[in-house]
């Protein structure tokens, strides 16, 4: 179903919206609005993604196999059954890890040049 990318590094660097969505899904499957809220939460409101950017990114991530749609639907009593839930694929998790490593390497460069506060 998913169209897995042949090389993880070819996908880097990730677009900010894609990276944030991947991070939001690392703890488990989420629906669109929950992803928006989660991103806002862990960025302390610095990053807000609108529905347009969110679903455009989701479409691209589904096409590249970074995420997949969950077959399970929420209990109609608890949530709107029209909602779709998304979760990370193995490929998506690898790409997220690779992006984190890339950013970490960049951070080390910044640290070496005295650009990180507290050093």
């Amino acid at each position: 179903m998913s169209n897995l990318h042949p090389n993880t590094n070819d996908m880097l660097p990730l677009k900010p919206a894609v990276f944030h969505i991947l991070l939001a899904l690392t703890d488990g499957e989420q629906h669109g609005y929950a992803i928006m809220l989660e991103i806002e939460r862990f960025t302390h409101g610095q990053m807000k993604i609108g529905p347009g950017t969110l679903y455009r990114s989701i479409k691209q991530m589904l096409e590249t196999g970074l995420i997949e749609e969950s077959d399970e639907r929420p209990d109609p009593q608890l949530d709107d059954e029209r909602r779709r839930y998304y979760r990370l694929t193995d490929s998506g998790r690898r790409v997220t890890q690779a992006e984190v490593n890339r950013l970490q390497a960049l951070l080390q460069v910044a640290q070496g040049r005295g650009l990180v506060e507290g050093n």
């Binding site: 629906h31 669109g32 609005y33 928006m36 807000k48 993604i49 609108g50 529905p51 347009g52 950017t53 969110l54 679903y55 455009r56 989701i58 479409k59 709107d80 029209r82 909602r83 779709r84």
Partner: protein, 362 residues
């Protein structure tokens, strides 16, 4: 209030490609509704702030999605050459040197904006530009806004934009021509002054301009379909040049020698009639080519029945022959244009499946 906002948002989702909207439209509405609800709990200001950010998000992502869904087709040397030839035939066939340049620049801008596949943005820019505090510009801006709305409703599939954009532009042709003439004698004179309708020249000019709009449809539709949207832009641009009155071979030759000018005009009517069918032939649309050729030949026959009467300003009169010829000509012009439109639409709809297949495989 929230329901109303959600309905408006759902309506705005029409800016996205159909396929994207079908797949994610409901999900986006759900996310929008939930976010709106949470913003409303905070404050009215938060609601407005959310609406503003949602609009920016929607417009930017819709634009990006439209571009991605409809990548510019490869024009190629052949397409550019063909479109240049099409533009030249239109250029040679020019008959008007005294028309309002801005009016026709506007006429060309509408299909161009649609051709660039950013209808909302392009029309907004055109509207703002034309909404200068000048009466005549305001009139144009009004017609652009109205017909731009028509365009946005009509054009559901961006691949047909060049084709369908010319429909409202044809209407715009008539509205503008009425307005230009009406404004010269006072705003609204075209509609209120019965003298306007008694001048055969006005009727003829409107018909002539409408015919040129239909000619645009006939030439641009196959160009856009088979040779790329950019190729279709060339004749549109050339239309704007010749409508400016700075490049009209028949007119300039006519100044030197009226008979030669007349001859050039009659001969130059042939290329625009032959050209569109020729564009279809390499693509196996033989029946379509023959159909278009017959329709346009019929138009040619009836149009050239009275070239002298049409040309001679002193001969304008509401006598019986004039009325009959004009009526027949008008009927054929509209009929042939309408049939050609239907035929091209049919060809387009048939070709969609193949286009999708090739895109998926690629």
């Amino acid at each position: 209030m929230r329901d109303f906002s959600t309905r408006v948002y759902r309506l705005l989702l029409r800016l996205y490609p159909v396929e994207f909207r079908r797949e994610y439209g409901d999900q986006m509405v759900l996310a929008f509704r939930d976010r709106l609800r949470d913003s409303g709990r905070r404050s009215l200001l938060a609601t407005f702030a959310f609406w503003a950010s949602a609009l920016v998000d929607l417009l930017s992502s819709a634009w990006a999605e439209q571009r991605e869904a409809n990548p510019a087709q490869q024009t190629g040397v052949f397409g550019v050459a063909l479109s240049t030839l099409a533009g030249l035939t239109l250029l040679i066939d020019s008959r008007t040197s005294d028309v309002d340049y801005l009016a026709y620049l506007l006429l060309v801008s509408l299909p161009m904006a649609a051709s660039l596949r950013f209808p909302a943005w392009s029309l907004a820019i055109v509207s703002i530009f034309l909404a200068l505090p000048l009466a005549i510009f305001a009139y144009f801006a009004g017609s652009v806004v109205i017909l731009g709305g028509v365009l946005l409703v009509l054009v559901r599939n961006p691949r047909f934009m060049v084709f369908r954009a010319t429909l409202p532009s044809s209407m715009q042709h008539i509205i503008i021509s009425m307005g230009v003439i009406g404004l010269t004698g006072g705003v609204g004179a075209a509609l209120l002054d019965t003298e306007f309708w008694r001048l055969p020249e006005h009727w003829w000019r409107m018909m002539q301009w409408s015919g040129m709009a239909l000619l645009l449809v006939i030439v641009c539709a196959p160009l856009a379909r088979y040779y790329g949207t950019r190729a279709a832009l060339v004749p549109l641009l050339m239309m704007s040049v010749f409508y400016s009155g700075i490049a009209d071979p028949a007119y300039f030759l006519g100044v030197i020698n009226p008979a030669a000018g007349e001859a050039v005009w009659i001969v130059s009517m042939l290329p625009p009639i032959v050209f569109p069918p020729l564009l279809l032939l390499p693509h196996g649309k033989v029946r379509g080519a023959i159909g278009v050729l017959i329709l346009w030949s019929l138009m040619l026959i009836f149009c050239t029945m009275t070239p002298t009467l049409v040309r001679a300003d002193t001969a304008w009169a509401w006598d019986a022959p004039f009325v009959v010829v004009r009526a027949v000509e008008a009927g054929h012009l509209l009929l042939s244009g309408a049939l050609a439109l239907i035929w091209y639409d049919h060809l387009e709809s048939k070709s969609v499946t193949g286009w999708h297949k090739s895109k998926t495989i690629a």
